[in-house]
Symmetry: C2
Subunit: 356 residues, 2 copies
């Protein structure tokens, strides 16, 4: 028996609309093939939201988000604001606010490796092979949400890096539960030799660890983790970390998967799940049919598995991507410069191939 | 005519004493060969300081530091404190305090690539080749030194990420001056799309940039920078960044040089310069004659060049290291697992080879 779900698509900025088009198309196809009824709505966020309503997260978008069963998001950000440090309203505020409003405190970023793409990475294939990491990045706390201040003379600026026990506990539990059914190893990353917030983080993780004696726990400083991730990515299974450190490490780790264009993430917590590529809005290639739609399609696979419990459907998608890559199709970002055996496709053609 | 300088050696913890022994030996040899008079003193810091006096930065050490012409430092940290998040006194406090007390606001970390070590990196040789980066990490501000708080019930902890205009200005000027005589490109790394401190950082760098129209300025978000550094390290020349981001990026970048065991750093500012390897105390191999002394020896080369203006002497050292590597000698950390053409040496033998 098929299920019935309502999905909100938020294309966002830059290449967002192009890639979510293909995520949505794949979802529709899965619905047809497996007899599920997926209904869709669309809403604005980020620069697109600001242009239309002056608000990076329009009220209507938030209302629709709360009413949906899952959200497929594209990308956010615009160069215009990046180079204007004094802008009051910014696209990113929309993303931060929706994370907070929906209680999306856990951001899961699996680093999967498609064998076909081993050569697209800047790391040596023998270093990469066998890498399989699941990041748990805390998403609604840290210096992202702590109080921001600017002195009256504008010469001093600050952000508060802050964590409370319950925030660390709830994501640590999620990460340990995942580690238990994966490789049974968890690495918690902090900077406890310098930061008080990290010392609390480590204390809490040490406590939760006691409830999971079957999982091997390691604590690592962020500087060392950033290094080890390049040196020997295979050594990681589940990585648990704070918002800022997670932001940095997961982008770095994207090189393991050959390109950011291949990585999806799931943000979950109290209510509706939120699924998005980890790549940004990439304005330099927006509207040129060059973007890699695979991360958006993989976001859909995560949605099916995590929010709807549809494992076979999710597998069908990753298999289709696998086959497309095996057949030699690549978007520009994942094409290995040294080989001419691959066929370079644009966004549309790549999306079509996966659909087929 | 030779010069006369007084150098304070602070061996610190873990492998610190082993590696500074060789840094000092090389300095003595350079003194003899070039007719300079180097005098030495020694002092405690970190865990070693705590053991002897209860203080990670004993008053005597600070007094000696201020009275010296340059400081050669080893490493800091002890596993005992790392896993005890509630420890009040920690080795790292000694390092942070001496940085602050001596006004060492600019930490220079050159990423040099010895051709012989191209294969020791996890990155592909063609990605690495030609990489030459000079990091300017701000060292006396940021979340490292902002107010730390723990709530009375101990359930909430915070650190203040804070910057003032003058702190950004003075290091930005140093970085631009260096860029001007290097590749004329400067990349400033921040997270201005989220953090107020980063927005101030970007504002100030944009202003200083105007005084250096001959240098091409780029602003990059830290997550993107962590990714680009692995993807295409060659694209960077001078990288300017805050304390925390610099800590993370430079450790990550150490993989470019094959190993952290190959990287030295210079901390400069208002007074006496401070020279140290970027590697840590590595307690797991301490006292086993396994540590790589090259970073400490390279620290000495930086000291000669930056604090004493002795370029030829510095070059003599890097040439000696180059030759030692060309002759096939390696410590364990930089030996390429796939080749059996190299000879693995311990700390002492490696130090001897370079001296010869
Ligand atoms: C756009 C930005 C606010 C965001 C973040 O830093 O969280 C992005 O980099 C991400 O990782 O989702
Ligand atoms: C030991 C620690 C406090 C220090 C830092 O984070 O600054 C170290 O990692 C470094 O990079 O010099």
């Amino acid at each position: 028996m098929g299920i019935k779900k309502h999905i909100l698509v938020i294309p966002g900025d830059g290449i967002g609309p192009e890639v979510t088009t293909w995520g949505k198309a794949v979802l529709e196809k899965i619905g047809q093939d497996f007899g599920h009824e997926f209904t869709f709505d669309e809403a604005l966020m980020g620069h697109a939201g600001i242009e239309a309503t002056g608000n990076p997260l329009p009220d209507e978008t938030l209302a629709k988000a709360k009413a949906s069963d899952a959200i497929l998001f594209g990308a956010i950000g615009h160069i215009k604001y990046d180079n204007d440090p004094s802008a009051k309203v910014r696209p990113e505020q929309g993303l931060l606010k929706i994370r907070k409003e929906l209680g999306l405190y856990a951001n899961l970023r699996p680093i999967m490796l498609f064998d076909e793409l081993l050569d697209a990475s800047s790391l040596k294939p023998e270093i990469l092979k066998g890498t399989d990491i699941l990041f748990f990045r805390e998403l609604t706390g840290d210096v992202y949400f702590g109080e921001k201040k600017r002195s009256e003379d504008r010469n001093t600026a600050s952000d508060l890096m802050i964590y409370s026990r319950y925030e660390v506990e709830r994501i640590a539990i999620k990460a340990y539960e995942a580690a238990r059914v994966r490789g049974k190893r968890l690495c918690s990353v902090d900077k406890a030799n310098v930061l008080e917030a990290s010392r609390l983080w480590r204390e809490v993780v040490q406590e939760i660890a006691k409830q999971y004696p079957d999982v091997e726990t390691e604590h690592m400083f962020i500087d060392n983790a950033a290094m080890q991730l390049v040196k020997n990515p295979k050594k990681f299974d589940v990585v648990l970390t704070a918002n800022l450190f997670g932001d940095i490490l997961t982008d770095e780790a994207s090189q393991i998967a050959g390109s950011m264009g291949m990585l999806a993430s799931a943000s979950v917590g109290d209510g509706t799940g939120f699924f998005e590529p980890i790549h940004g809005s990439a304005h330099d290639i927006a509207g040129q049919d060059k973007a890699n739609p695979l991360a958006s399609i993989l976001s859909v696979a995560l949605m099916l598995e995590i929010s709807f419990g549809l494992k076979d459907e999710a597998k069908k998608i990753t298999d289709a991507i696998d086959k497309t890559l095996k057949d030699g199709y690549r978007t520009g970002d994942i094409a290995d410069a040294n080989t001419d055996k691959v066929k370079i496709l644009g966004t549309t053609a790549m999306g079509q191939k996966v659909l087929e």
